[in-house]
Symmetry: C2
Subunit: 336 residues, 2 copies
């Protein structure tokens, strides 16, 4: 097996987040799915944007956020996702390349119709409790074709990281299936994040089959996703159902910390102490970044979890799911 060119290559949605503070009343008035992620069409996106306060735009996308964190820590990464040939597409591409991530998928031509939509955006309402309510217009992102895959790059990465959100649209799902095959053929690890309960509601059978077939080496889930995937209602039962089927299992529990199992070993960490949570957007994404960074470096399980907790803590201390500080320096200082 040749020396890997990348630590992590990820396939995910290429999204720009449009973020604004919101009152609880507005969440109710707009009948939003508080704390969740909801897919919206162009009309609903327009309606929600009109109701939104003054916003700021920050690149997002779950797997892309994870890669940005990994790259900030010093990992070599590549991203595969679909933007349109428009200004938000330029913003996304700039921001991901600016942190040193390889991103070579050509922008998709857009004429702003349903058939050729603009770059994906996620309208995020952040309530005073720092909870984020996400409304995603998938736009061009859902049209990532399997032909956009660079098989050589996939085969040359230690870990292929896949975002559950992107399992929903058809074309990217096919691309991800092919990437899994390529990675496994090359003897690489496949990591998967379940993303959201609604994704499991729709595609749980696919995910369970991938797991049974031994195609998932590292699985990220929060406790609700764990319950949904395993049909359990407590964490220990959920872990018991999966720990012998996925070599590495990471379960995050928001403020209650995280648990991981890896090849029979088990570790647990509390959440990193934080004075003021501003915006929880990206907490899971950055947890995955920290964990994977330790993992690809062959670190002990507990240290991988600690890295996850520290990265998640940084991201929820400010608006947006892209790290604002020198994450490597912060982590080195915290880990001692």
């Amino acid at each position: 097996m040749p020396e890997p060119r990348y630590d992590v290559i990820a396939i995910g949605n290429a999204i720009v987040d449009v973020m604004a503070p919101a009152t609880d009343e507005l969440i109710e008035e707009l009948q939003l799915n508080r704390g969740g992620m909801t897919l919206v069409d162009a009309d609903r996106a327009r309606e929600l944007y009109e109701a939104m306060g003054p916003a700021r735009e920050i690149s997002g996308g779950s797997a892309a956020n994870t890669l940005a964190g990994l790259s900030a820590l010093g990992a070599q990464c590549a991203f595969i996702g679909q933007v349109a040939d428009d200004q938000l597409g330029e913003v996304f591409a700039h921001d991901i390349r600016a942190v040193g991530i390889d991103f070579d998928v050509a922008p998709r031509p857009t004429n702003h119709t349903d058939a050729d939509p603009p770059t994906a955006r996620c309208l995020i309402f952040v309530t005073p409790d720092a909870q984020r309510t996400m409304n995603t217009f998938l736009g061009a992102s859902q049209f990532l074709p399997a032909s956009a895959l660079d098989d050589e790059a996939v085969a040359a990465a230690r870990v292929l990281y896949l975002e559950g959100y992107l399992w929903d649209p058809e074309e990217p799902r096919a691309a991800m299936r092919r990437a899994i095959e390529t990675a496994k053929d090359a003897g690489r690890e496949v990591a998967f994040t379940l993303s959201e309960v609604f994704v499991i509601d729709r595609h749980g059978d696919d995910f369970r089959a991938l797991i049974e077939d031994g195609l998932i080496d590292i699985l990220f889930a929060n406790h609700l996703e764990l319950f949904a995937l395993t049909g359990t209602d407590n964490i220990e039962a959920g872990i018991a159902a999966l720990k012998d089927k996925v070599p590495t299992l990471v379960v995050t529990r928001s403020a209650d910390g995280a648990i991981a199992t890896r090849n029979g070993e088990r570790a647990e960490v509390p959440a990193e102490p934080i004075e003021h949570v501003v915006d929880t957007t990206g907490a899971g994404d950055l947890f995955a970044a920290g964990f994977l960074f330790g993992h690809v470096r062959g670190e002990p399980l507990e240290r991988c979890l600690r890295r996850g907790a520290i990265a998640a803590c940084e991201i929820i201390s400010h608006y947006g799911a892209r790290t604002e500080v020198d994450l490597k320096a912060l982590m080195d200082a915290k880990l001692g």
Copy 2:
């Protein structure tokens, strides 16, 4: 004179800020005009964006920032500026309308050529000392035609607020000249911010003529702009040169506070104490917002200045030139 429909109507650049932290080394390497505002063409904008770290997009534009502050304080405002028919234009229009400002100028069609450029953007590099170095691609903004003016609205505002930056391109200059005439004919006040020394270098004769002709009722300048306009090298001499020619003169001096004269009266305030300055972008714009809010309400001169200092202090405590807190509540609390 009919009761005004607006407190302030402003004509200014319609810009989206693209902001990123930067090292001092990068500023040097790119040969940027540290702390200043430089106009750049499309090629240079592309070059600088490529060299920039991951950024966030926040609506900007000097006069638009001032209006956003005024609106947050409870003033009725309208904005006149030119965006293109593109995504950044939508972002600008959304953000300004979302704070309750009337903005009705139709977007200009763009095909991303020099003749029909996209919406203006300002690439802002923020160094560790919180200084902002601005590089503005004016795009569609420089093509604001006089025909975009709503004369009735201009005549119906207590104050017409003009941004010196926009005096540079020809079409907006003509529009501003017409607006001054309309406002004066309607018996309204005309406020002008000098914006930057380079603008005075190019158009100082115009500005001095406007002042001599009694067309400027409220003039905002920082100390460097005051020196450039009056050919003096100290603040007292500068104030002496202008105070009998402009009914209200406001001179800001960054961390050294501000001085104002109004019809023979004089007041002075220190800068508002602040623990940690993050990004000085918009300090002058928000000072003007606070001051004008007090002014249109007929408040004592010192209180107008205090409002300016408080608004400026809020804006430099975070990234971006648009207020992130409930500015009215903050100001009420500080003013007691």
